[in-house]
């Protein structure tokens, strides 16, 4: 029994680390731009397809596909943000952020439909060598999963460095903290919007590619996973980047542990339950103390 729980912990942490990437993206956009961007789901799929294209058509090794997934999803993210969301965001009014959220869910459907139009509904698989799981301390580890875990950790570390060490990163945090004060200090929030969107959607795309490499890509793969991403963000308080990572790890472990008692088809329902519990008990997120930004 202990081994079973240990195995669930390992699987949950690995899955959670990868989920953390899109969750970071969602949190970043909410912090800097002040709205929920539901098109994160479709951008995960964009990244997954971009990686699959260069992996299976151009035969690039898996590691080389990841920057492609990041860049393509980031670029599509900025382009669609400019076209669809920015004009609505520019309006002032109490309802603006909800309007933008509604437009972003329409955008999500638009991107997903465009992908379905181009690639069809078939399941596509990455061309990666099949490797054997190895046993360590009585627990099973997949080499591909461990690689994913490592990539997610590196990406999170790079992001943390960016936000604490560079001027741009600090400016972005300043805007997230208090847009008016940041403007007083000469930071133009709108100029940071593109960069924030690029990083956020790039992370979503990278996460998407990592999430499908051991399974398969289809046009709605992002939409199927997105509830878990939202759960991670909400558990982390929706405005805290470290919170999003911790939230993702927690949700990952919780959903793996829940598989011991409920049917795997209800994995998304676990995420929904996590959202409900957090909103009922600690609406500002479980980690509100960790450099939280209140809105």
């Amino acid at each position: 029994m202990l081994t079973v729980i240990g195995q669930s912990l390992v699987n949950g942490l690995i899955q959670g680390a990868v989920i953390a990437l899109p969750a970071l993206g969602l949190t970043l956009i909410f912090s800097v731009l002040g709205f929920i961007n539901f098109s994160v789901a479709a951008q995960m799929t964009v990244g997954a397809y971009a990686g699959w294209m260069v992996n299976s058509h151009l035969h690039w090794p898996f590691a080389a596909t990841l920057p492609v997934a990041f860049l393509v999803a980031g670029a599509v993210g900025v382009l669609t943000d400019r076209l669809a969301l920015a004009p609505v965001r520019a309006r002032s009014g109490g309802q603006t952020s909800l309007m933008v959220a509604v437009v972003s869910i329409a955008l999500n459907l638009a991107i997903e439909s465009a992908l379905r139009f181009s690639f069809g509904n078939d399941l596509e698989s990455y061309d990666v060598p099949v490797t054997r799981d190895f046993r360590f301390a009585g627990l099973l580890f997949g080499p591909q999963e461990l690689l994913n875990f490592g990539v997610a950790l590196v990406a999170a570390a790079v992001l943390a460095t960016f936000f604490t060490r560079t001027r741009l990163g600090k400016a972005m945090r300043a805007v997230a903290d208090n847009a008016d004060l940041a403007r007083l200090k000469g930071i133009v929030p709108n100029r940071l919007a593109n960069l924030a969107t690029f990083i956020a959607m790039g992370l979503a795309g990278l996460g998407g590619a990592l999430l499908v490499v051991t399974t398969s890509v289809d046009p709605s793969v992002g939409s199927r996973l997105v509830l878990v991403v939202f759960a991670a963000s909400v558990v982390g308080g929706l405005t805290s980047l470290p919170g999003a990572v911790l939230g993702a790890l927690l949700v990952g472990v919780a959903s793996e542990l829940s598989l011991l008692v409920i049917s795997p088809v209800y994995e998304s329902a676990t995420a929904f339950l996590a959202i409900l519990l957090v909103l009922l008990l600690r609406p500002n997120g479980l980690f509100a103390g960790v450099s939280a930004v209140r809105r």
Binding site: V88, L98, I105, A106, A110, Y266
Partner: protein
Amino acid sequence: MITYLTFVSTLAGIYALLALGLVTSWGQGGMTNLGLVGFYGLGAYASALLVGGGMPIPFGWLGATALAAAIGAGVCLITRTLRGDYLAIVTLGFAEVVRLFELNETWLTGGSNGISGIPAPLKSYFGAAYPIVYMVLTWSLVLVAALALSRLLKSPFGRALRAVREDEQVAAVAGKSVLVLKVQAFAIGAGLSGLAGALYAHFTSFIAPDSFVVQMTIYIFLAAAAGGVTRVPGAILGAIAVMVLLEGSRFVAAAIPAFDAVQVASLRELSIAVGLIVVIQVRPEGLFRSRNQLSGTR
């Protein structure tokens, strides 16, 4: 041809009910229900199961409406202290859980096979004319709902609700109970979606999880937005417009032989999604501008 037109008009009426619900919670109350299709599916299954269990059909419809409204109120209460964004996330998750439940609780919902043979009211009595009778019945319900909503939204309740939408704090200072107003408006919206689902179930006599796809939520948002999010007549015209767009694009796309069925379906969905984006960007007020609904004798 008549059969097809009757079918489409009935469906348009069901969409109109959904759009009316959205006008109440989104347009007038400022709350985004991204799980609209969840309440719609819930209503359909609830009525099918109640009637299947021996209840008379009107009770099935009432039960579906009441259940959807009650769950809507609950969802709204959970996010009461938070920004509207949270309600959007919770409703989206709710719809996903409803879908999973429909798909996997085979003992109750029949799983992906769905429920078939749902009885239609008075079908044997009217015989061949029945589709037209059901269409008239649906649109009568739309009309009743529209009239009731117009009255309600013109009443002090409507004014208070709009005040809450514009600024909760100001409304609270003016002595309005913000939470009660929001929960009521959201429950009305959810209840209408549940009723629409029940109407759908007894109309097609067959429901399955595939009948309640996530994209439908976007169709209804387009219907409500195109007609002007705050306006009751706008919701009805918007629903008709969306139905024309959905069905029209089916014919247009079928006329282009270069595309396969999946591509045609994705083009339809793309056109709806782009339609919603464009409407909100270009005409945020929709076809019908929101009337300056101040207090007064108008």
